[in-house]
């Protein structure tokens, strides 16, 4: 599968993972998405996106850090892979180029 084709929700998930850096696991990503985008993804939808991204090689994951409120279960932390970072940067570049092509687009600044 060509790695650079990702959906909007997947993109947001990847951005959250990037923001959270060392602290990105299921619940924290969910919280981050709620705060930043004002939507409430179900954890099913979230994990489904995470799994897909991992399969595409844009994220990698490892288990670490059991806590009491997880009844001793470790967290599955996610990190952007190199490809993942490239894809995000590529998307950003692409958007920037395209937006500059729109004449008279006024940003509120």
């Amino acid at each position: 599968m060509k790695g650079s084709n990702i959906g909007e929700f997947e993109e947001l998930v990847m951005l959250s993972v990037g923001i959270l850096q060392e602290e990105a696991y299921g619940i924290s990503i969910k919280d981050e998405l709620e705060v930043r985008t004002n939507r409430k993804p179900s954890i099913g939808a979230l994990h489904s996106a995470l799994n897909r991204l991992e399969k595409k090689g844009l994220l990698k994951s490892f288990l670490e850090g059991p806590t009491e409120d997880r009844r001793g279960r470790r967290k599955r932390f996610y990190q952007l892979t190199l490809t993942g970072k490239e894809v995000l940067a590529g998307i950003y570049e692409q958007r920037k180029e395209m937006i500059q092509l729109i004449p008279n687009l006024i940003f509120n600044s």
Binding site: Y25, G26, I27, S42, I43, G44, A45, H47, S48, N51, R52, S61, L63, P66, T67, D69, R70, R71, R73, R74, K75, R76
Partner: protein, 885 residues
């Protein structure tokens, strides 16, 4: 802090379904969310959200249902079982087809019957407080010892009970509108026959729901309320607007419309008439008579009344009130209460019950028949599956060799049979779809697919299928678990592997076949007996010729001058005779009774026919002594009676000739004190006025200037269509606005036997079903046996055995089996058939011929099935079978 936990079951399910590699992280997330919510919203809500979250995780990409789960591969094995089941099924096509066909038949029969039974056993459950509602019935006893049960009771009982007993909340009466009513609306007229005069309390008890107008309008005597469907029929969808209808010359108003009664109601009137009208035209003394059994009476008790105990109290009370009146008539009765829930199924013993009733025995019998069919279908399945189990022994051996335990082998074969049952269940649904219209026609009900598939029913259906699959699969599965792996790896021949004792004379499979035969032979014998009894009753000599008699209700203008009416209708050549009569054979006959002064002064129970001088000629009753009535003889009119033989016998009048001249008194209907005194002028051969369930009872025929509601026409064998047209034309002269309606008398009699006819049809159907299933089973078994013995047979052939020789060898075992089952089932069937026949006053005798016929039929069918397969087996070239060695 008290720690709450998410639902255990859900946790375990999640652990089971989720792939090991993903489990920990996901479970941790779920717990973390749970804890957070438990703190904020309490653990009830947290539990719900936990389940909801889990549900959102149920997608392939997340839980990754992994059949190679490292813990176990149950899922994988189950999928493998299903795959193997399909492969096996496809390899043995005829076996699979036979098995599926048998199961489908069985399940279909049971499904239909259970739907029907459910319907039948849930009548009259819609009323509010239904458990407190009862119908009254009386047990009438005459001095002659005659006992009858009647659901219409005398008019004063309702009011008297309600006034004197606090246990009774309400009591109300309805009175059947005998003869029906002709409604005239504009230039159209409708003849309706299903109506009642009804009191308000009865409306309450029956939960009549008024949807337009008011029922208070019924206080006005000339008023009706109509059922919704009748209202629509009358006014073609016009809104309710206090419409009026013409009944002859008087105008009645329609004061309300009520919602149609549910189908499952014992009473289902199309229209209800003001009870005041009935009171207006019935003499006061009649309405207070404790003898006039004509009112269906309902009571509603207060909560918690012990009805059984109250019944005795009520009986004493009624006896006290009615004693004086009853004594004079030589009649006594006791009053009973029948629960609404019992009305539909427990009313077959009642006389003059116009309601929708069925019989408990029928329902019971149907249930049994359904179970027998299902049982036979299961036996077949078990039989065939265990027979072919021998072919699966190698597979089972290998499975065990590589580590399968007994439990796994058992589960495998249960799953396999479950698959068969489920597929048969699906086929049944297809059949249901196709057969539903036929079923509706036969049961005279209106089932719709939507009604049949309510969620609880679907669940029950699935549950029953699963239970059936496991039950039917258990025996063959157990057989197979006994296969020893060691036998297989030693390279023993498959058919030497011990799977039950196949070579004994009475191995389990043969016993199963025998049981099937016992059941089906029993059913066949009973159904033949039912059919023959039914034919016997239809064709029995009633003492008069019921063919070619047409019955027409008279209208007022016809009754004005009977002789000229008779003249007018007799003009057509194909009309032989016409008589006017109050009562008609086959209809309700006045059982008023006669008095024979020489015996005593009491009423003797007899069917009294009030009619005219043409009655004997028209009915073609045979005179055996004395003479017929003569029109010219004035005394024949005022003082003559004709009796039947049975009356002569019952009243001890000696020979028919001696009875001539016997003095007979008859009480006038309208003024009970005035007697019609007369003498017997003739005796006729016995004729049956009711169904053949009953013995011929004493009958007296006499003439009277009375209201004659019936015209009976005897026609010849000429053109029936033209005759009817003629009658219609004449009728329209007298009653231009009434629709011409007539019935054939033989139809009326046939209606008596409708129950038996349905029974005969049902029995026939079930018998065919059981025979087919049993024969299918036999075919499968023979098939299997011949395949198994193909080598043996080939060697026999090579060594010179003749075809006949081998044929006999193959067939004799089955003949033996069948003979044994015949010996078992014949006496049982004989006993049961005899018991059924005992209900009839006139019945066929069970002779050997019936049994010989049935046995012959069974033997023939069996031989055909067995021979068909055997001959096919004989024609194979022995070399083909042996070459592979």
């Amino acid at each position: 802090m008290n720690k709450s936990n998410p639902p255990k079951l859900a946790e375990r399910f999640f652990r089971w379904i989720c792939a090991q590699s993903n489990l920990e992280g996901l479970e941790g997330d779920l717990y973390e969310l749970y804890e957070r919510r438990a703190k904020k919203q309490g653990h009830r809500k947290a539990n719900w959200y936990y389940l909801l979250d889990m549900l959102t995780l149920m997608r392939g990409s997340v839980v990754q249902i992994n059949f190679n789960n490292s813990k176990s591969n149950k899922m994988g094995m189950i999928l493998n079982y299903i795959k193997i089941a399909f492969r096996n099924g496809l390899r043995r096509k005829s076996f699979t087809l036979i098995n599926l066909f048998g199961l489908t038949l069985g399940i279909t029969a049971v499904l239909f019957i259970s739907v029907y039974l459910w319907e039948e056993t849930h009548y009259d459950r819609y009323q509010t407080n239904g458990e407190n509602k009862y119908r009254l019935y009386d047990r009438l006893e005459r001095e002659s010892g005659d006992v009858s049960l009647i659901t219409t009771v005398p008019p004063p009982i309702a009011e008297a009970l309600e006034a004197n007993f606090s246990q009774i909340k309400k009591a109300g009466r309805i009175y059947f509108d005998y003869g029906g009513t002709v409604f005239q609306i504009g230039d159209k007229s409708f003849s309706e026959t299903n109506g009642y005069y009804a009191e308000f309390d009865a409306l309450d008890i029956l939960d009549v729901e008024i949807i337009a107008g008011t029922r208070d309008g019924l206080k006005e005597p000339r008023s009706f309320i109509l059922s919704e469907s009748l209202f629509i029929k009358f006014f073609e969808g016009a809104p309710f607007n206090n419409q009026t209808v013409q009944l002859g010359s008087s105008t009645f108003s329609i004061v309300g419309v009520y919602k149609d009664f549910p189908d499952q109601s014992h009473v289902n009137p199309d229209y209800l008439v003001s009870f005041e009208l009935l009171k207006n035209y019935t003499p006061e003394e009649r309405m207070n008579s404790w003898l006039w059994h004509q009112f269906t009476t309902y009571v509603e008790f207060e909560d918690g009344v012990n009805v059984k105990a109250f019944e005795e109290e009520a009986q004493r009370f009624v006896k006290e009130r009615s004693a004086k009146e009853l004594e004079a008539h030589g009649i006594s009765y006791t009053t009973h209460f029948q629960s609404f829930h019992d009305i539909h199924l427990h009313s077959s013993a009642f006389e003059q019950d116009t309601f929708d009733r069925s019989s408990y025995q029928n329902v019971f019998f149907l249930g049994i028949a359904a179970l027998i069919i299902l049982f036979i279908a299961c036996l077949n399945f078990v039989n065939l599956t265990s027979a072919q189990a021998i072919g699966r022994a190698k597979e089972v051996g290998i499975r065990k060799f590589v580590g399968a335990g007994k439990g796994q082998v058992f589960v495998q074969h249960c799953i396999e049979s479950l698959l068969y049952v489920l597929i048969a269940g699906a086929l049944t649904l297809g059949l249901l779809f196709v057969l539903l219209p036929e079923f509706n026609q036969f049961t005279e009900k209106e089932f719709e697919l939507v009604d049949l598939f309510t969620p609880p029913r679907i669940l029950a259906y699935l549950g029953a299928l699963v239970a059936l699959g496991v039950l039917a699969g258990a025996y063959p599965a157990t057989l197979l678990t006994r296969v020893r792996a060691i036998d297989i790896v030693h390279g023993l021949k498959i058919h030497r592997v011990k799977v039950g004792k196949h070579f004994a004379v009475f191995n389990p499979r043969q016993i199963l076949v025998a049981v099937q035969y016992v059941l089906s032979v029993g059913l066949i014998i009973i159904s033949v007996v039912v059919y023959e009894q039914f034919q016997f009753m239809r064709e029995a000599d009633l003492g008069f010729d019921k063919e070619n008699l047409i019955l027409i209700s008279t209208v007022g203008s016809m009754r004005r001058d009977l002789e000229s009416t008779r003249q007018a209708f007799s003009e057509y050549s194909n009309i032989k005779n016409i008589t006017f009569s109050y009562s008609v054979p086959g209809g309700i006959v006045a059982g008023d009774g006669i008095i024979i002064p020489r015996l005593n002064n009491k009423d003797q129970s007899a069917n009294v026919f009030v009619t005219d001088h043409q009655f004997l000629k028209t009915m073609e009753l045979e005179l055996i002594a004395g003479r017929d009535f003569k029109l010219q003889n004035a005394s024949d009119h005022s003082q003559a009676f004709v009796l039947n033989e049975e009356a002569v016998r019952t009243f001890d009048l000696g020979n028919p000739e001696d009875a001539i001249g016997e003095v007979i008194h008859w009480k006038h209907w309208n003024h009970q004190d005035s007697l019609k005194k007369g003498k017997v002028i003739g005796v006729v051969r016995d004729f049956n006025v009711k169904s053949m369930h009953k013995e011929v009872s004493p009958a007296a025929i006499h003439l009277l200037d009375s209201y004659m509601p019936n015209m009976i026409v005897r026609i010849g064998n000429g053109d029936l269509k033209k005759t009817i047209e003629f009658l219609e034309e004449k009728y329209s002269v007298y009653a231009p606005q009434r629709p011409f309606e007539f019935t054939f008398l033989d139809q009326t009699f046939d209606d008596f036997y409708r129950k038996e006819e349905k029974m005969a049809q049902l029995f026939g159907l079930f018998t065919v079903l059981t025979i087919v299933t049993a024969l299918i089973g036999l075919l499968g078994l023979v098939n299997f046996n011949i395949n198994k013995r193909s080598k043996e047979l080939s060697i026999r052939k090579i060594l010179g055995a003749g075809r006949l020789n081998i044929y006999v060898l193959l067939v004799k075992k089955y003949i033996f089996l069948i003979c044994i089952s015949l010996m078992i089932s014949t006496p049982i069937a004989y006993y049961m058939a005899n018991g059924w026949l005992d209900d009839f006053a006139y019945r066929i005798t069970l002779d050997a011929l019936i049994f010989i016929k049935v046995l012959g039929l069974i033997l023939c069918l069996t031989l055909i099935v067995v021979s068909w397969r055997a001959i096919k087996g004989l024609q194979t070239n022995p070399a083909d079978k042996l070459r592979t060695e």
